[in-house]
Amino acid sequence: MRFFLGMLAGAVVIIGWVVLNPGQKKPMPITLTFHAEMEGEPLVYDQFVYDNPGGTGQFRVRDFRFYLSNLSFGQGDQTFAEPESYHLLRFDNADKTHSITLPEVPLTSIDTVRFLIGVDPAANESIDVRGDLDPNSQMAWNWEVGYKFVVFEGALQVDQDVSPLVYHVGFSENAREVAFSLPADVLTEANGQIHLTVDPTKLFDGIARVDMQALPSVKFNRSDAAMLANNYATMIAPAF
């Protein structure tokens, strides 16, 4: 009898392990969809419809894009990091969205999502092509500096005067980590879809408020770049 009970206990343990072991389940696909929105509506390009956050006049957006890198997902103390994780997000399409799909994430569920806005220092100092990093692309500055992390270009109209706006933020110290938790069951209910909003206005309206007329461009000045980086650190938010 004791032998039989021992066998039974052993069987329960083995069956339980097989059934409950997360490693035995199929990897799941996950899609992150980023929606570029300003003032709560999809981003409008090429029209003077947005107010200068820190001053007078209206601005238009000609180009807005940024690098997102080192995407990882966590479940308890387990982590899955996407290899070669360098994505250029741009929104000049009909939906003003950009999606990143990972066909196989070997976790049974996900409770945290992490990534960088920008590029990690090792990749930023390299001219190797990996992911969407391309030293012959518009996002490359030059060998010495690395990549632009966030690009925002357009024009400001004050009365009848139109002047250019050029904000290129780079430098390794300006990568900013974004991390958020997923409420339980969000993924199962949404079939692996995670939606996020990206608000480019945050670049100019965050910890610091920027008057585009007073600061129409940011490129290599490190304190200006850091100010915009601290602002863009909060431009992405999950939308459940």
Partner: protein
């Protein structure tokens, strides 16, 4: 004895005929181009899966490229306006039209087409090299050829029938386009002084190095960084326009609003693209004068003068050009980089390091009808 010899001879004849029939009937097995390499700094490239690079396609494409049979009057070949010694341009502002005038655009250089923009012509109207290849042939003012008549002419030639068979199979417009695209894709320029510098084989002179630094820098008076701003449109290693989407097209301030040509807008219908033209490669730029889509500038000095103080403002002008200024004080009446004469000379010296003599004289890219094979 005689009978044996006769039988053997007949058998050999039958075997030879059988081989010839089989050789003609079998599907062609073209040889992949195996030993070509390109600098890793050029980055990734893609060849259409239905038109792989093969030796036979390249040989056919080269013949077609140099053959005036491709034109309606049998006098104009692709090479008429794309001369190897001029990096496959023709030295004219605009090429002559068959009807006596001139064409709308300047002849474009053909180099490193595997990289850079995936749209072709100055206004980007062709979405692939295969699409591009047949357009000038059929254009009434360029080569004025009826494509079906051309296929008939090519089919009448035993040489072309054989070359098409070996490369693809039948003589068709599609295979003609495929072969020309393959030839153009293999026109790789990667042995200029700049390439040798990137490979660590040579040093640039102090002036060339100064020019290189200016080329790569967007000026920022706030940190006293001087720059020629070239890299905002011309990628640092390829020196072509950018590959992603339509990033490789720009309005570089040539014309005012009233006379601004449509450019890319004619293709996309997007008013934000008015006056946008394809950013050309600067490889071999010293031998491809005159410059711009309409050949309006005769020398590199003229081009530098344009960017230095001749920018014409229009609504779609690149903000990167409008904003780039090396002078800290507010502008006067002109818009431009406001560099010194010495800085402009340095950039021009750097541009000369992009000339690739090996490319301009590579016998593989020359006419196969001039004693080549």
């Amino acid at each position: 004895m005689l009978r044996v010899v006769l039988i053997l001879a007949i058998a050999a004849g039958v075997a030879a005929m059988g081989w010839m029939v089989w050789d003609r009937a079998r599907s062609p097995v073209a040889t992949p181009i195996a030993d070509f390499s390109a600098p890793f700094v050029f980055g990734r490239f893609a060849v259409p899966p239905d038109n792989p690079l093969t030796e036979e396609a390249f040989a056919l494409g080269r013949h077609l490229f140099y053959d005036p049979m491709l034109s309606g009057n049998n006098e104009v070949s692709c090479a008429t306006c794309h001369v190897q010694a001029l990096a496959f341009t023709d030295g004219r502002a605009k090429s002559p039209s068959l009807s006596g005038g001139e064409l709308d655009f300047s002849s474009m250089s053909l180099a490193n087409l595997l990289w850079g923009q995936e749209r072709f012509f100055w206004d980007g109207r062709a979405a692939s090299l295969e699409d591009q290849a047949l357009m000038p042939i059929q254009h009434a003012d360029e080569m004025g050829q009826d494509i079906d008549a051309l296929v008939d002419e090519l089919r009448a030639s035993a040489t072309y029938r054989k070359m098409f068979l070996q490369a693809y199979g039948a003589v068709t417009p599609e295979n003609m386009a495929n072969a020309l695209a393959t030839f153009m894709r293999m026109l790789i320029s990667s042995d200029s002084k700049y390439d040798k510098y990137l490979r660590g084989e040579v040093r640039l002179t102090a002036q060339e190095e100064h020019g290189r630094k200016l080329f790569m820098a967007h000026p920022d008076t706030k940190i006293s960084l001087r720059g020629g701003n070239c890299i905002d449109c011309h990628s640092q290693f390829l020196t072509s326009g950018f590959r992603d989407a339509l990033d490789g097209f720009s309005n570089n301030g040539l014309d005012p609003e009233e006379t601004l040509p449509d450019g890319l807008m004619a293709v996309t219908g997007n008013p934000a693209h008015k006056g946008f033209f394809k950013v050309p490669t600067l490889r071999n730029i010293a031998v491809t004068a005159p410059y711009m889509h309409d050949g309006r500038f005769e020398t590199l000095e003229d081009v530098m003068a344009h960017y230095n103080d001749g920018i014409v403002v229009s609504d779609t002008l690149s903000p990167l050009i409008l904003e780039a200024d090396n002078a800290p004080e507010a502008g006067q009446d002109t818009v431009g980089l406001r560099m010194t004469g010495e800085e402009m000379e340095a950039i021009i010296a750097f541009l000369h390091t992009l000339t690739d003599e090996a490319f301009l004289t590579n016998p593989l890219f020359s006419s196969p009808f001039d004693g080549g094979s």
